[in-house]
């Protein structure tokens, strides 16, 4: 496989005249990246796995004691942690579903000959180019019950988006949907434009209705690329921190990463927070794996 991908170095090229071979050039490019990954990703990953079995606290000089599985046992028995996971799951479902519906819908609308299509698409992409913190601060003002423009526009009076514990999580999800739907839209648009025209023409000749065309032609052909968008968004939503942290401090919006942050950098329970980070990592891996399996099945069809 690798030999097919790798082309040979042209013997007349300048690199070749300097005595560089394909392998040397490849190593030159890859080794720094691998080193970087090992130093900044792999090493901390393994190191923190070790810490997750200890009672280590970075804030003290006390030596780390090995405590076995105690951190994991206590975390998985902590009702607050379970509440955090439940909140995260709810958030992921609401936010990703919203993004797919809005993003895919917008892509469908844009996938036709309309004037200024390029300009409109670019403008629609703006939200995802902003910084999360900036979006959070803006939406905090938009949601404000006393002077926020959302209540004014919708005529909701002093409806408390962020102070209402039942509403706050949805408010955060709405902001996330606003911000990341363009990402789903962009990928869907790429998928939609790749659907061969003649399939639609054939469907039209057979007098297929719009729903039939959508569910039998459009959706199956866009599905693989849509799945990729969903995988990315799910992973990101699972790790959400900034938006929820900035917008509100309701216990009903304390997603798992906020709890993790507090445990690691406010309480300085380094060992235990490593364990929690591992639990989160395993969950994200598991979910992603399910998606990838599904993606492969979709692609085979």
């Amino acid at each position: 496989m690798a030999t097919v991908v790798m082309t040979s170095l042209d013997s007349r090229s300048r690199a070749a005249s300097r005595g560089l071979s394909d392998i040397k050039i490849r190593n030159l490019f890859i080794i720094p990246t691998i080193l970087f990954l090992i130093v900044f990703n792999i090493f901390p990953l393994i190191y923190s796995l070790g810490y997750s079995f200890t009672d280590f606290r970075a804030s003290s000089n006390a030596p780390a004691n090995f405590v076995g599985l105690q951190n994991y046992r206590e975390l998985l028995n902590d009702p607050f942690i379970w509440a955090n996971f439940a909140i995260t799951a709810k958030y992921v479902i609401v936010s990703v579903t919203g993004q797919v519906v809005v993003g895919f819908g917008t892509a469908m609308l844009l996938n036709r000959a309309i004037p200024f299509k390029g300009l409109i698409t670019t403008l629609l992409l703006l939200p995802m180019m902003l910084s999360m913190a900036v979006v959070g601060l803006f939406w905090k003002l938009l949601y404000d019950p006393s002077f926020g423009i959302i209540n004014y526009a919708l005529g909701l009076g002093t409806f408390e988006w962020l102070a209402n514990p039942d509403m706050a999580l949805y408010a955060v999800a709405i902001t996330d949907i606003w911000m990341w739907s363009p990402f789903v839209m962009l990928l869907s648009l790429a998928g939609l434009s790749a659907v061969p025209r003649h399939l639609y023409e054939a469907a039209a000749i057979d007098r297929a209705g719009p729903f039939y065309t959508f569910f039998r032609i459009t959706l199956p052909l866009v599905a693989p690329i849509l799945m990729i968008a969903i995988i990315f968004r799910t992973m990101e939503a699972f790790k959400t921190f900034d938006l929820a942290y900035i917008l509100t401090s309701q216990p009903t919006t304390e997603v798992i990463s906020i709890r993790l942050y507090k445990m690691a950098f406010q309480e300085w329970q380094t060992g235990r927070s490593c364990a929690l980070a591992y639990i989160v990592l395993i969950m994200v891996l598991a979910i992603t794996n399910i998606y990838v399996k599904y993606l492969n099945r979709v692609k085979e069809r």
Binding site: S59, E160, S249, P251, F265, E267, W268
Partner: protein
């Protein structure tokens, strides 16, 4: 050749000499980003004029002040020579060896008598009553109240209030009056609300607010020397205090579920509330017409008494400590010697800093300098603080987790919240072997 080498060596030697001397002439103090830090910068500029030592006050927003400071401490970094750290850090920072022991300095200068007793107890000494000191009280602070004099002194309002409650409308003397006045001014249809209180649960905002009620109702958070919390944190008095706090939440402006000092000052500047809880450190902004259009009609009062006449307030404020990993400890010591002088403390108060020096606090000059200095002086002699044990952050988060849903959403009862908190705290103390 020999000449060249000799020349080089001299050059290198000279460079080193310059390097070290330049370093010892510079000090960095780390603090949170707020007005007092600017006043401190002005103060240390005068130190530079006197001694030639440049001091920079480096700041970071409150929300990550703790995280940034402890990240630097844990990495044994020498970026900061001194830190003006929060009062509850002292246990964590002293036990881990981040702060230099200042006991000798403290005793030599008899600071126990020079500074107000509460500031010595909460900013400097750890463990409680041990006679070991880790910082010099720098910025005294506590929670007080601001109110709208024009609303309170409106004859129509006064008449209506008297008719409804049977006593005169004036700054509240106890928490019952505080509640009545909040209820009286709470008129959502006019976009006017009764009261602004702390509700932010991301650091110590909400807890400070509730402490004001608990301490004045005669309650305590626990026994700080024996770590006993059962029937102290969940005592009858504390339950009453928490219920009152929850009641006050009903008279706050809409969406008041993540408010701390910024929002509470806005409540006054934006005509939202009749009364607002805040640290004294934020009051200079309220008497300044540039930052408060209602500056002329803003008044101040100390935290009112509870039902049994107890009157305490939650302590804010910070002491200044020398960081163990600093490379300029001696120079920092010299600065502290200058800082504790009576003239410096007086100048510190003039610039807007809240001195902890008892002599300055007691002076007529200080008490008449601003509309709130008298309330500050009264408050500073009756303040109480949160736990200062190294695991205070866990205790704080547990308290937030238990009381926030009750205060802001009315989930469960005050008794249930505090009983659960007592259990959490017991478990934490057990984990660290405190019992």
């Amino acid at each position: 050749m020999r000449k060249t080498v000799a020349g080089l060596m001299t050059g290198i030697g000279f460079m080193f000499a310059c390097g070290t001397s330049a370093q010892s002439q510079e000090l960095t103090i780390f603090w949170a980003e707020w007005d007092p830090a600017n006043y401190l910068q002005e103060l240390v500029n005068e130190y530079e004029a006197e001694t030639g030592v440049t001091i920079t006050v480096e700041t970071t927003p409150w929300a990550d002040f703790q995280t940034k400071a402890f990240t630097e401490f844990n990495a044994k970094g020498s970026a900061y020579d001194m830190v003006v750290g929060d009062s509850q850090w002292i246990g964590a920072a002293s036990e881990a060896g981040h702060y230099v022991d200042l006991t000798e300095f403290f005793n030599k200068h008899k600071l126990k008598e020079v500074m107000a007793p509460a500031t010595v107890k909460y900013y400097a000494e750890y463990p409680a009553n041990s006679g070991k000191y880790w910082s010099i009280p720098a910025e005294g602070d506590a929670v007080g109240w601001s109110y709208r004099k024009d609303w309170f002194e409106d004859p129509k309002e006064m008449e209506a209030f008297k008719a409804k409650y049977g006593y005169d409308l004036a700054p509240p003397k106890d928490w019952k009056q505080l509640r009545d006045i909040a209820e009286f001014f709470h008129r959502p249809d006019q976009k006017r609300y009764g009261i602004a209180i702390y509700t932010d649960n991301s650091y110590d905002g909400l807890v400070m607010g509730v402490e004001n009620a608990i301490f004045s109702f005669g309650g305590e958070l626990g026994d700080y020397s024996t770590y006993k919390v059962d029937s102290i944190i969940n005592s009858e008095k504390n339950v009453k205090a928490l219920e009152t706090y929850r009641e006050l939440y009903g008279f706050t402006p809409p969406g008041w579920a993540k408010s701390f000092f910024v929002e509470n000052n806005q409540a006054i500047t934006e005509n939202l509330a009749a009364m607002s809880m805040n640290y004294f450190a934020f009051f200079p902004a309220l008497v300044n017409e540039a930052s408060n259009p209602n500056a002329k009609v803003t008044g101040f009062f100390a935290n009112p008494a509870g039902p049994d006449g107890d009157q305490y307030a939650a302590l804010g404020g910070q002491g200044i400590s020398i960081v163990s990993y600093s490379q300029n400890k001696e120079e920092a010591m010299k600065f502290l010697e200058w800082f504790i002088k009576d003239e410096t403390q007086k100048r510190w108060a003039e610039l807007g800093g809240y001195t902890a020096s008892a002599k300055v606090l007691e002076s007529e000059e200080f008490q008449n300098a601003t509309p709130y200095n008298k309330a500050f002086y009264e408050t500073m002699f009756r303040v109480k603080d949160f736990w200062a044990t190294p695991e205070y952050a866990e205790l704080l988060i547990q308290m937030n987790q238990r009381i926030y849903p009750y205060v802001t959403a009315g989930q469960g009862t005050a008794k249930e919240a505090l009983d659960a908190l007592a259990e959490d705290w017991n478990a934490t103390f057990k984990k660290y072997g405190r019992h």
